[in-house]
């Protein structure tokens, strides 16, 4: 089909006389080819893809299956078709790479033969190291088989598809071997890698690239004006710099900072060499460039700036601006808020209406907790932003509103943003950049998280599911989905597991003196609804994500989500490596060593930010891991798998960074699992351990209770408490992880309830009563405490007391059989 249309067009072109003069049997095929190629490139530049393609077909006819031609054809077709099928392009690029490799291998074979004939060992027997063996054509004709362009294009497509993991995977090796790559391509590789690294929060890689670009394009970290100076200083090692300054004099003697110890022997040494008079030796020495009398020591060497190629033209304003923006994004990512301000300012100085710079400035204010300022900036932006940017601003406003505790408004803004995106994708022809302009996936995620936190788990799960293809490599994404399930469980929205019975449902039967109260049987905790098969989960998330029908929330699927999260965490590294922050520091220091004089302080700052950022990231990963394990323990209990619950709870307890709240939960879950496994003594041990941890730091109770008072709403204790703090609250994750609910009185009450159960189950009714009383004293009227007491009373045969106790329950529902429960 394609071929046909090709043919037609080229025909019409020939008729129109556009076709270049190339007769089929042209002798100088390559020359004509290169002329055609130039013309095709020009047409490509002019976006006349159809014409360009017909030329390319002509070229292809001459150079059959030349990967470069195929590559360019794929590009032109992709653009001609309106960038509709990026996956097809990826396929072709892959083929191009493969074919290039094959050709390279073939060429290597041929070359081997060629070399094999005329290899002569240059130094005969002395060169023991140089094995007389033909070398593969590494580098020799490598540009003919250069993969950097198709590889770069592959990475670009992945980037625009927001598949940052794949994109990074592709671009990283390119960057690692960037020196041989042509200039135009190299810069693009750098910028692309920066974008990808920043998008996937790989601060370390971003720092590497930033450093490299600054270094090789003379964009100093500080002022750009004296970039050349910095460059000069940064590369020439101090010894050389000093010696060239003292040219013609004796290095050691005159250099004043040298300690006197050194000077005297040098004098002797010189007299010694001068007196020698052996010509061969002097010649030798001279020939290897060693100074004998020192007078022409350094001059003989070319003074050079080796690390940096001078061929780079002075960076244009555009590049300067870009680099400022990249730096801002890097600093925002690593939460280096103080330095950001300066960078934003310099960016705005270069272009005061730059929308990206303004949005970044708003982000800075947002991160610093100046929500009003951020909002003001955003609303002024929205008026003059072009269409593609408006939804981004709307989404950012959504974030700000969330932190202003206006989740309704936040959701509204996210919804507006999504609406914009959907209408945009309908009305506008697709450009490649349209993919990346469409940031709806991020908006879906933002909105999903906010919905989850404001207690709409089902809606949240739908939204999160939409963002799957961008976030599926993040453990937190899966954790959030699991949290949707748990939140839905809390609200009784699951079909496979019953909700926790918050109220005590009592059924009254009979009348008069036959009246009986029937208490709820079994436990009050979530349990499997009879008839469900817990491990039967529909295959969630097919490869392309979007096709899948909306997931039905269940505990079984929560388990699956948590397992994904855990696997991803495992893949990303062990928590034991937490101390590895120093490594990155060393890395960066190593790099800045090349430029010892250029802002060593800045280098150190960058290194320390980077180190603290990685430490922070690792801490977060460790916290997520704890959270995932504890959630898994909970979910397994709900699914009635006590063994699995136990192992997860125990694993959680073994993590480093278990906060008090999570240690409490893990102990309680483990104890319950052990009871279910009929190992009551061990269960008791867990509870005792928990109690001991608390009494040993009982002083905290008061503090935490006051903290609990400030953080009232259960769903909102996730938001930040300090609304104007410089840091916001995002930094002290560990504190945030100590949910007052699970460290304060409430937790103590449930611990006593459970202790009462443990004692009762062992027939120790007196102790059980003590514990139940304790629980009641802390939380009078709580159904758990009441039930604990009722159990004890009943076990002791005190029916009347039990009934009286029951009536103290704050959440009691009494019903008649047949009638629906509820008051």
């Amino acid at each position: 089909m394609e071929g046909e249309s090709e043919g037609e067009v080229s025909m019409s072109q020939r008729e129109a006389g556009i076709s270049p003069v190339v007769s089929p049997g042209d002798e100088s095929g390559t020359n004509a080819g290169s002329a055609l190629a130039k013309e095709a490139a020009a047409l490509y530049e002019k976006k006349s893809y159809q014409e360009c393609l017909s030329l390319l077909q002509q070229i292809l006819a001459k150079k059959e299956s030349d990967p470069k031609v195929i590559h360019n054809i794929a590009l032109a077709e992709f653009y001609r078709d309106g960038c509709t099928d990026p996956y097809k392009l990826l396929d072709v690029l892959e083929q191009v790479k493969q074919r290039t490799c094959e050709e390279l291998a073939r060429a290597a074979d041929e070359q081997l033969e060629g070399i094999g004939n005329n290899v002569t060992s240059p130094n005969g027997s002395t060169t023991g190291n140089t094995i007389v063996k033909p070398s593969p054509p590494e580098g020799s004709y490598i540009e003919d088989y250069d993969l950097s362009i198709p590889t770069l294009n592959t990475a670009i497509v992945y980037y625009h598809l927001k598949q940052y993991a794949s994109a990074f995977h592709v671009v990283e090796p390119l960057f690692a071997n960037i020196e041989p790559v042509d200039e135009s391509c190299a810069l693009q590789i750098c910028l692309l890698m920066l974008d990808i690294a920043l998008a996937s929060r790989k601060a370390e890689s971003a720092a590497l690239v930033l450093h490299y670009v600054e270094k090789s394009y003379g964009l100093g970290q500080s002022g750009l004006e004296n970039a050349a100076n910095v460059q000069q200083l940064s590369v020439v090692p101090p010894t050389l710099a000093a010696s060239s300054a003292l040219d013609g004099k004796y290095l050691g003697i005159t250099s004043s900072p040298a300690p006197p110890l050194v000077t005297s022997p040098i004098g002797e040494g010189s007299s010694l060499t001068q007196g020698s008079g052996e010509e061969t030796f002097e010649e030798d020495a001279l020939s290897i460039g060693l100074e004998i009398d020192g007078s022409h020591s350094v001059r003989s060497l070319p003074t050079r700036v080796p690390a940096i190629e001078k061929s780079h033209p002075a960076p244009g304003t555009e590049l300067k601006l870009l680099m400022h923006l990249y730096r801002v994004r890097f600093l925002l990512l690593t939460h280096c808020l103080k330095t950001v301000k300066r960078e934003v300012k310099s960016a705005l100085n270069l272009s005061k209406d730059n929308i990206t710079a303004l949005l970044l400035k708003a982000q800075l204010e947002y991160l610093r907790g100046n929500y009003r300022k951020a909002m003001k900036l955003l609303t002024t932006c929205i008026a003059r932003a072009e269409n593609a940017v408006v939804p981004m601003i709307l989404s950012n406003l959504g974030c700000v509103y969330h932190y202003l505790r206006k989740d309704q408004t936040a959701a509204l803004f996210f919804a507006k943003a999504l609406q914009r995106y959907s209408s945009m994708s309908k009305e506008r022809p697709l450009k490649l950049t349209t993919f990346s302009q469409d940031k709806s996936l991020s908006v879906y995620y933002n909105c999903g998280v906010v919905q989850l936190l404001s207690g709409n788990p089902v809606m949240a799960s739908r939204l999160l599911q939409e963002s799957y293809s961008m976030f599926y490599t993040r453990p937190l994404f899966w954790l959030r989905l699991a949290e949707c399930c748990i939140s839905a469980l809390e609200k009784g929205l699951l079909t496979d597991v019953s909700a926790r019975k918050e109220e005590v449902k009592v059924v009254v039967v009979g009348k008069g003196r036959f009246r009986r109260l029937v208490l709820p049987s079994g436990g009050s905790n979530p349990s499997l609804v009879s008839g469900t098969q817990p491990d039967n989960v529909d295959g969630v998330f097919p490869q392309d994500g979007k096709e899948g029908k909306p997931i039905t929330l269940s505990m079984a699927i929560a388990k699956r989500f948590l397992q994904y999260a855990f696997l991803l965490l495992e893949r990303d590294g062990k928590p034991e490596e937490l101390a590895a922050g120093t490594e990155t520091e060393a890395l960066v220091m190593g790099n800045s060593e090349v430029s010892p004089s250029s802002g060593a302080q800045e280098g150190r700052d960058a290194a320390s930010t980077l180190a603290s950022f990685t430490a922070e990231e690792k801490l977060e990963a460790a916290m997520i891991r704890v959270c995932v394990l504890v959630d898994l323990a909970f979910v397994e209990l709900c699914l009635e798998n006590p063994l699995a619950a136990l192992s997860n709870a125990e694993a959680a307890l073994q993590q480093h960074h278990v906060t008090k709240a999570y240690s409490f939960l893990a102990h309680v879950y483990a104890a319950e699992a052990l009871c279910l496994l009929d190992r009551i003594k061990e269960a008791e041990g867990h509870l005792e351990k928990c109690m001991m941890d608390w009494t040993s730091s009982s002083g905290d109770f008061l503090e935490e209770d006051t903290a609990a008072a400030t953080q009232k709403n259960g769903d909102h204790n996730n938001g930040d408490a300090s609304s104007g703090g410089e840091d916001g609250s995002s930094r002290n994750l560990k504190e945030q992880m100590n949910f007052a609910r699970f460290t304060g009185t409430q937790a103590r009450a449930s611990l006593y309830v459970n202790f009462a159960a443990i004692h009762a189950m062992q027939g120790e009714l007196l102790q059980a009563r003590q514990c139940a009383l304790q629980a009641l004293a802390i939380a009078p009227g709580s159904s758990m405490a009441v039930l604990a007491m009722v159990y004890v009373e009943l076990s002791q045969g005190r029916t009347k007391e039990a009934v009286t106790m029951l009536k103290r329950c704050r959440r009691l529902s009494v019903s008649r059989p047949g009638a629906r429960a509820g008051m």
Partner: protein, 274 residues
């Protein structure tokens, strides 16, 4: 699931709660409704309402909290930079770029180039900074270049300083046989740029052992020893190496060749730095 502590501890969950006017005992008489009727009704209702499970001890299983939201988790959106697909301009291009240099480098591996040729290589390398990666030199062939055209070797190595392959080239350089030319190259490199010190150490060790092993040719040995001494002195004076890292080796070397004046001088230099 088999019995567990909870189910084993379950007790009867039905408790009598007789509804009697005050003053009547539960054994009392009239309640208005016929006795047998209400008893029957109660029994039926009881059967409907109760299950086989009894009342288990209450156990509080708290619902785990949500992971706290950090500001970084919500995505702040800014426009992406545009990355357009890159046209392969190498298509049908003249692949003779650097062919002359490739040719010359190939020759330079086998013998010294004429000054004009050498100049040409240097110029072309200078004018096209990427050419060095395409000139056909590999780490394995570096020693040949060093032996035949040290100046070119220096230039090439300087250009390769930043490349990922630089370590391979350095390794090839410092482990090749010691010779005037290799020393020239190392020396020029050390004065021009900072070379990772481990390579310099490796080269010095290589030099020292070469001198020691050259027993059969006293004349050549003398020559080399003196050169090594001057070389070392220069490295020490220019603070390119820290003497203390190699103190023992160098001292032993000086003692072994103390008959040679330069070695004695180096020895004194060492002593003075001790």
């Amino acid at each position: 699931p088999g019995p567990n502590c909870f189910s084993k501890a379950a007790i009867r969950n039905v408790l009598p709660d007789p509804d009697l006017p005050s003053g009547y005992s539960s054994d009392g008489l009239e309640t208005g409704v016929s006795e047998s009727e209400s008893g029957e009704l109660a029994a039926i209702e009881l059967m409907q309402a109760s299950t086989l499970k009894g009342l288990e001890p209450a156990w509080d299983r708290p619902i785990p909290p949500k992971f706290p939201l950090r500001k970084e988790e919500l995505l702040w959106l800014t426009p992406d930079s545009e990355h357009d697909l890159l046209w392969h301009s190498g298509m049908c291009a003249d692949s003779s770029r650097g062919a002359a240099v490739r040719e010359l480098i190939a020759r330079a591996l086998k013998g010294a180039l004429a000054p004009a040729q050498q100049q040409q290589v240097l110029q072309e390398l200078e004018s096209d900074p990427k050419l060095v990666y395409h000139c056909g030199l590999t780490p394995r062939r570096l020693p040949e270049l060093v032996e035949n055209n040290p100046i070119i070797a220096v230039e090439v190595l300087l250009k390769l300083m930043n490349s990922v392959q630089s370590s391979e080239y350095f390794n090839a350089l410092v482990s090749m046989d010691m010779s005037l030319h290799s020393m020239e190259v190392v020396n020029r490199l050390t004065t021009a740029v900072q070379i990772p010190v481990e390579y310099i150490h490796a080269y010095i060790n290589n030099c020292i052992s070469s001198c020691e092993n050259m027993k059969q040719d006293k004349y050549m040995q003398n020559r080399l020893v003196r050169l090594v001494c001057v070389f070392l002195t220069s490295l020490i004076r220019n603070r390119i190496i820290n003497v203390h890292d190699l103190f023992i080796e160098v001292q032993a070397f000086c003692i072994e060749f103390s008959r040679i004046r330069e070695a004695a001088g180096l020895f004194r230099l060492l002593k003075s730095l001790e």
